[in-house]
Subunit: 114 residues, 2 copies
C-alpha cells in the first residue's frame, strides 16, 4: 500500500526505528525530504518556501489537521518566506514508519490535484 494511504500507529518506545539506509531508501518515495540529526536523534526534514508569511501559516494549518488526524505531530519552524517541517518519533528515539506516512500525506496534500 502507498505510504500516503496508510495510517500512523501509536508511537511507543517499542516502535521500530529505521536505519540510515532504510530511511534513505524510503525517502526516494517522497518529495524533497532529507535525513538529518538533532541532538543525536535521526529525523527527516523538508523546507517549503513561499512569498510572504501567510502561505506558511496556511500550510501549518493544513499540516496540523493531518497531524491531529494521525495522532502524530511534526516540529514546525515558520519564518517569513519558509516553513521547515521536521519529523521524528520522540517516543522511539528515531525515524519510524509513522514519520514517513505523515510526510507522504503532507506531500500528497500539497501536490497539484489532477
Amino acid at each position: 500500500m502507498r505510504l500516503a494511504d496508510r495510517h500512523c500507529d501509536k508511537c511507543t518506545p517499542e516502535t521500530p526505528t529505521l536505519s540510515e539506509p532504510e530511511i534513505a531508501e524510503q525517502l526516494r518515495q517522497l518529495d524533497g525530504w532529507q535525513p538529518a540529526k538533532s541532538d543525536g536523534h535521526a529525523l527527516i526534514t523538508k523546507t517549503f518556501r513561499f512569498k510572504g508569511f501567510m502561505p506558511g501559516v496556511d500550510l501549518v494549518n493544513r499540516i496540523a489537521a493531518l497531524a491531529e488526524s494521525e495522532g502524530h505531530h511534526p516540529d514546525l519552524k515558520l519564518t517569513y518566506g519558509s516553513l521547515i517541517v521536521d519529523l521524528t518519533t520522540h517516543a522511539a528515539g528515531g525515524v519510524t514508519e509513522n514519520d514517513l506516512i505523515l510526510a507522504a500525506k503532507i506531500d500528497e496534500d500539497q501536490a497539484p490535484k489532477s
Copy 2:
C-alpha cells in the same frame, strides 16, 4: 503611550537597534520575554506551553494576524506542547522598538480579558 497601543514602523537598515541595557529595561514592561542571541544577532524570545498541539496552532494563527496587521513577523517554532516566539528586526540586524511593540500586542492578545 503603552507599547501595545503603538504600531510598528517599516523596518529598514536604518531602523535604530536597541542596546542590551535598553532591551533589558524595555522587557520589564513585558510578560515572560527574554533576551537571546542567534547567529550573533540579538532577539527577544518567549516560550508558550500547552497541552497538545492545537492550542499552539491556534496561537500561531492569532500571532499571524497581529504580524500581518503590523507588517512585522516573528520566527515561530511549534512543537507538541509548546510554541517559541522569536522577534528580531532582520533588516536592522537587532532588536528594535518594532519587536517590543509586537511582543506587547502578543501579550495583550493572550491576557485574560477583564
